[in-house]
Amino acid sequence: MIKTFTQDDLVRYIYKETTTEENSEIEQAMLFDDALAKDYAELSSVVLALDGAQVAPAQSSVDAILSYSKSYHLHSA
Protein backbone atom coordinates (compact mmCIF):
# COMPACT_ATOMS: atom_id res chain seq x y z
CA MET A 1 0.00 0.00 0.00
CA ILE A 2 1.33 3.44 -0.97
CA LYS A 3 1.58 5.81 1.99
CA THR A 4 0.39 9.38 1.69
CA PHE A 5 2.75 12.26 2.32
CA THR A 6 2.30 15.95 3.03
CA GLN A 7 4.17 19.00 1.77
CA ASP A 8 5.93 19.13 5.13
CA ASP A 9 7.25 15.63 4.44
CA LEU A 10 8.50 16.87 1.09
CA VAL A 11 10.29 19.77 2.78
CA ARG A 12 12.02 17.31 5.12
CA TYR A 13 12.86 15.11 2.11
CA ILE A 14 14.33 18.00 0.11
CA TYR A 15 16.48 18.99 3.08
CA LYS A 16 17.52 15.37 3.67
CA GLU A 17 15.88 15.03 7.06
CA THR A 18 13.94 11.91 6.15
CA THR A 19 15.03 8.38 6.93
CA THR A 20 16.20 5.98 4.23
CA GLU A 21 12.91 4.15 4.57
CA GLU A 22 10.91 7.36 4.19
CA ASN A 23 12.99 8.29 1.13
CA SER A 24 12.00 5.07 -0.62
CA GLU A 25 8.36 5.53 0.34
CA ILE A 26 8.23 9.13 -0.83
CA GLU A 27 9.95 8.28 -4.12
CA GLN A 28 7.51 5.41 -4.61
CA ALA A 29 4.54 7.64 -3.78
CA MET A 30 5.64 10.28 -6.27
CA LEU A 31 5.49 7.70 -9.06
CA PHE A 32 1.77 7.29 -8.49
CA ASP A 33 0.73 10.65 -7.08
CA ASP A 34 1.03 13.39 -9.69
CA ALA A 35 0.05 16.11 -7.23
CA LEU A 36 2.81 15.05 -4.83
CA ALA A 37 5.36 14.94 -7.67
CA LYS A 38 4.25 18.39 -8.81
CA ASP A 39 4.55 19.77 -5.26
CA TYR A 40 8.04 18.28 -5.03
CA ALA A 41 9.07 19.82 -8.34
CA GLU A 42 7.79 23.24 -7.31
CA LEU A 43 9.36 23.23 -3.85
CA SER A 44 12.66 21.93 -5.26
CA SER A 45 12.78 24.63 -7.89
CA VAL A 46 12.62 27.32 -5.19
CA VAL A 47 15.32 25.59 -3.13
CA LEU A 48 17.56 25.49 -6.22
CA ALA A 49 16.91 29.15 -6.87
CA LEU A 50 17.90 29.99 -3.27
CA ASP A 51 21.30 28.41 -3.89
CA GLY A 52 21.78 30.67 -6.88
CA ALA A 53 20.94 33.77 -4.86
CA GLN A 54 23.93 33.38 -2.57
CA VAL A 55 26.48 36.15 -2.35
CA ALA A 56 30.24 35.54 -2.34
CA PRO A 57 32.69 37.50 -0.20
CA ALA A 58 35.54 39.41 -1.83
CA GLN A 59 38.66 37.37 -2.54
CA SER A 60 40.59 39.82 -0.36
CA SER A 61 38.52 38.72 2.66
CA VAL A 62 39.24 35.07 1.96
CA ASP A 63 42.95 35.83 1.53
CA ALA A 64 42.98 37.73 4.85
CA ILE A 65 41.36 34.77 6.63
CA LEU A 66 43.85 32.27 5.20
CA SER A 67 46.72 34.58 6.00
CA TYR A 68 45.54 34.93 9.62
CA SER A 69 45.44 31.17 9.98
CA LYS A 70 48.92 30.71 8.56
CA SER A 71 50.38 33.26 10.96
CA TYR A 72 48.30 32.15 13.97
CA HIS A 73 51.33 31.35 16.11
CA LEU A 74 52.42 35.00 15.75
CA HIS A 75 49.05 36.25 17.05
CA SER A 76 48.86 33.78 19.90
CA ALA A 77 52.49 34.09 21.04
Binding site: Q7, D8, V11, R12, Y13, I14, Y15, K16, E17, Y40, A41, E42, L43, S44, S45, V46, V47, L48, A49, L50, G52, A53, Q54, V55, A56, P57, A58, S60, S61, V62, A64, I65, L66, Y68, S69, K70, Y72, S76
Partner: protein
Protein backbone atom coordinates in the same frame (compact mmCIF):
# COMPACT_ATOMS: atom_id res chain seq x y z
CA UNK B 1 23.63 19.19 0.94
CA UNK B 2 26.31 18.41 -1.59
CA UNK B 3 28.55 15.43 -0.85
CA UNK B 4 32.26 16.01 -1.05
CA UNK B 5 35.11 13.54 -1.57
CA UNK B 6 36.64 14.73 1.68
CA UNK B 7 34.20 15.54 4.47
CA UNK B 8 34.35 18.67 6.61
CA UNK B 9 35.23 16.50 9.58
CA UNK B 10 38.23 15.02 7.75
CA UNK B 11 39.36 18.48 6.66
CA UNK B 12 39.12 19.75 10.23
CA UNK B 13 41.26 16.83 11.41
CA UNK B 14 43.87 17.64 8.77
CA UNK B 15 43.73 21.31 9.69
CA UNK B 16 44.27 20.47 13.36
CA UNK B 17 47.42 18.66 12.24
CA UNK B 18 48.70 21.78 10.55
CA UNK B 19 47.39 21.33 7.02
CA UNK B 20 46.55 24.89 5.93
CA UNK B 21 45.39 23.65 2.55
CA UNK B 22 42.60 21.74 4.29
CA UNK B 23 41.48 24.98 5.94
CA UNK B 24 41.55 26.76 2.60
CA UNK B 25 39.29 24.05 1.17
CA UNK B 26 36.86 24.46 4.06
CA UNK B 27 36.73 28.24 3.73
CA UNK B 28 36.20 28.12 -0.03
CA UNK B 29 33.64 25.35 0.29
CA UNK B 30 31.41 27.31 2.67
CA UNK B 31 32.28 30.97 2.12
CA UNK B 32 29.17 31.82 0.11
CA UNK B 33 26.70 30.33 2.58
CA UNK B 34 28.40 31.98 5.56
CA UNK B 35 28.77 35.33 3.81
CA UNK B 36 25.13 35.23 2.69
CA UNK B 37 24.04 34.56 6.29
CA UNK B 38 25.88 37.67 7.44
CA UNK B 39 24.87 39.80 4.48
CA UNK B 40 21.18 39.00 4.90
CA UNK B 41 21.37 40.38 8.43
CA UNK B 42 23.60 43.44 8.12
CA UNK B 43 22.62 44.49 4.58
CA UNK B 44 26.01 46.09 4.03
CA UNK B 45 28.65 44.43 1.91
CA UNK B 46 31.66 46.05 3.56
CA UNK B 47 30.46 45.38 7.08
CA UNK B 48 29.66 41.82 6.03
CA UNK B 49 33.24 41.41 4.76
CA UNK B 50 34.57 42.54 8.17
CA UNK B 51 32.23 40.24 10.09
CA UNK B 52 33.15 37.36 7.77
CA UNK B 53 36.80 37.84 8.74
CA UNK B 54 35.93 38.18 12.44
CA UNK B 55 33.96 34.94 12.19
CA UNK B 56 36.92 33.03 10.84
CA UNK B 57 39.31 34.58 13.33
CA UNK B 58 37.13 32.93 16.01
CA UNK B 59 37.14 29.68 14.03
CA UNK B 60 40.93 29.67 13.68
CA UNK B 61 41.43 30.56 17.35
CA UNK B 62 39.05 27.84 18.49
CA UNK B 63 40.45 25.09 16.29
CA UNK B 64 44.12 25.94 16.72
CA UNK B 65 43.82 26.20 20.49
CA UNK B 66 42.25 22.73 20.59
CA UNK B 67 38.84 23.93 21.76
CA UNK B 68 36.86 22.83 18.70
CA UNK B 69 34.15 20.38 19.65
CA UNK B 70 33.42 17.73 17.04
CA UNK B 71 29.91 17.17 18.37
CA UNK B 72 28.33 19.62 15.98
CA UNK B 73 28.73 19.97 12.24
CA UNK B 74 31.19 22.49 10.93
CA UNK B 75 28.94 24.66 8.75
CA UNK B 76 26.11 25.14 11.31
CA UNK B 77 28.75 25.94 13.93
CA UNK B 78 30.47 28.58 11.81
CA UNK B 79 27.11 29.95 10.64
CA UNK B 80 26.03 30.44 14.23
CA UNK B 81 29.23 32.33 15.04
CA UNK B 82 28.57 34.50 11.98
CA UNK B 83 24.92 34.98 12.91
CA UNK B 84 25.79 35.94 16.50
CA UNK B 85 28.45 38.41 15.42
CA UNK B 86 26.02 40.05 13.00
CA UNK B 87 23.32 40.32 15.68
CA UNK B 88 25.91 41.61 18.20
CA UNK B 89 26.77 44.34 15.74
CA UNK B 90 23.18 45.58 15.86
CA UNK B 91 23.08 45.38 19.64
CA UNK B 92 26.25 47.42 20.00
CA UNK B 93 24.95 49.95 17.52
CA UNK B 94 21.64 49.94 19.44
CA UNK B 95 19.77 49.12 16.32
CA UNK B 96 16.89 46.75 16.13
CA UNK B 97 18.07 43.41 14.75
CA UNK B 98 15.84 42.45 11.88
CA UNK B 99 16.71 39.76 9.42
CA UNK B 100 16.09 41.68 6.25
CA UNK B 101 18.23 42.59 3.29
CA UNK B 102 18.63 45.32 0.80
CA UNK B 103 20.67 45.16 -2.37
CA UNK B 104 23.92 47.11 -2.13
CA UNK B 105 25.21 49.01 -5.10
CA UNK B 106 28.16 46.82 -6.02
CA UNK B 107 27.50 43.68 -4.12
CA UNK B 108 26.38 41.69 -7.12
CA UNK B 109 29.72 42.20 -8.77
CA UNK B 110 31.06 39.63 -6.36
CA UNK B 111 28.60 36.94 -7.30
CA UNK B 112 30.25 33.90 -8.76
CA UNK B 113 28.69 32.34 -11.81
CA UNK B 114 29.61 29.51 -14.11
CA UNK B 115 30.97 30.28 -17.55
CA UNK B 116 28.04 31.83 -19.37
CA UNK B 117 27.49 34.56 -21.92
CA UNK B 118 27.36 38.18 -20.81
CA UNK B 119 23.66 38.29 -21.61
CA UNK B 120 22.90 35.12 -19.63
CA UNK B 121 25.04 36.43 -16.82
CA UNK B 122 23.03 39.64 -16.69
CA UNK B 123 19.78 37.67 -16.63
CA UNK B 124 21.15 35.50 -13.80
CA UNK B 125 22.22 38.57 -11.84
CA UNK B 126 18.83 40.19 -12.32
CA UNK B 127 17.08 36.99 -11.29
CA UNK B 128 19.19 36.56 -8.16
CA UNK B 129 18.71 40.20 -7.18
CA UNK B 130 14.96 39.85 -7.66
CA UNK B 131 14.91 36.70 -5.58
CA UNK B 132 16.68 38.45 -2.73
CA UNK B 133 14.04 41.17 -2.93
CA UNK B 134 11.34 38.52 -2.70
CA UNK B 135 12.96 36.93 0.36
CA UNK B 136 12.94 40.38 1.93
CA UNK B 137 9.17 40.55 1.50
CA UNK B 138 8.53 37.31 3.44
CA UNK B 139 7.02 37.55 6.94
CA UNK B 140 9.75 37.67 9.60
CA UNK B 141 9.09 34.20 11.00
CA UNK B 142 9.22 32.58 7.55
CA UNK B 143 12.35 34.46 6.53
CA UNK B 144 14.08 33.50 9.78
CA UNK B 145 13.41 29.79 9.33
CA UNK B 146 14.42 29.93 5.68
CA UNK B 147 17.75 31.54 6.58
CA UNK B 148 18.43 29.15 9.41
CA UNK B 149 17.66 26.05 7.37
CA UNK B 150 18.94 26.98 3.95
CA UNK B 151 21.95 29.16 4.66
CA UNK B 152 22.91 28.20 8.20
CA UNK B 153 22.22 24.49 7.73
CA UNK B 154 20.45 24.12 11.07
CA UNK B 155 18.12 21.14 11.28
CA UNK B 156 14.39 21.74 11.74
CA UNK B 157 14.70 20.43 15.30
CA UNK B 158 17.53 22.88 16.02
CA UNK B 159 15.45 25.71 14.52
CA UNK B 160 12.47 24.68 16.64
CA UNK B 161 14.65 24.76 19.77
CA UNK B 162 16.26 28.08 18.86
CA UNK B 163 12.97 29.83 18.08
CA UNK B 164 10.97 28.15 20.83
CA UNK B 165 8.34 26.57 18.59
CA UNK B 166 7.43 22.99 17.76
CA UNK B 167 9.20 21.21 14.92
CA UNK B 168 5.90 21.15 13.02
CA UNK B 169 5.63 24.91 13.28
CA UNK B 170 9.21 25.31 12.02
CA UNK B 171 8.46 22.95 9.14
CA UNK B 172 5.22 24.75 8.35
CA UNK B 173 6.96 28.12 8.28
CA UNK B 174 9.57 26.77 5.89
CA UNK B 175 6.87 25.29 3.67
CA UNK B 176 4.98 28.61 3.58
CA UNK B 177 8.23 30.46 2.87
CA UNK B 178 8.98 28.22 -0.13
CA UNK B 179 5.40 28.34 -1.42
CA UNK B 180 5.23 32.11 -1.01
CA UNK B 181 8.52 32.54 -2.80
CA UNK B 182 7.33 30.27 -5.59
CA UNK B 183 4.15 32.33 -6.01
CA UNK B 184 6.10 35.56 -6.00
CA UNK B 185 8.56 34.12 -8.53
CA UNK B 186 5.67 33.13 -10.78
CA UNK B 187 4.12 36.55 -10.44
CA UNK B 188 7.39 38.29 -11.32
CA UNK B 189 7.99 35.76 -14.06
CA UNK B 190 11.34 34.73 -12.63
CA UNK B 191 12.73 31.90 -14.72
CA UNK B 192 13.93 28.64 -13.29
CA UNK B 193 14.84 25.38 -14.92
CA UNK B 194 11.69 23.30 -14.73
CA UNK B 195 13.50 20.17 -15.90
CA UNK B 196 16.12 20.16 -13.18
CA UNK B 197 15.13 18.98 -9.77
CA UNK B 198 18.11 17.14 -8.29
CA UNK B 199 18.11 16.27 -4.60
Amino acid sequence: MRKYAISDSQLISQYKNGNEEAFSTLVNRHKKKIFTTIYLIVKDQYLAEDLMQDTFVKVVNTVKSGRYNEEGKFLPWVSRIAHNLAIDHFRKAKRYPTIVMEDGSNVFNTLEFSEVSIESKQIQQDTHALLRDLIKELPDAQREVLMMRHYMHMSFQEIADATDVSINTALGRMRYALINLRKKMDKKNIAYDQNLYPR
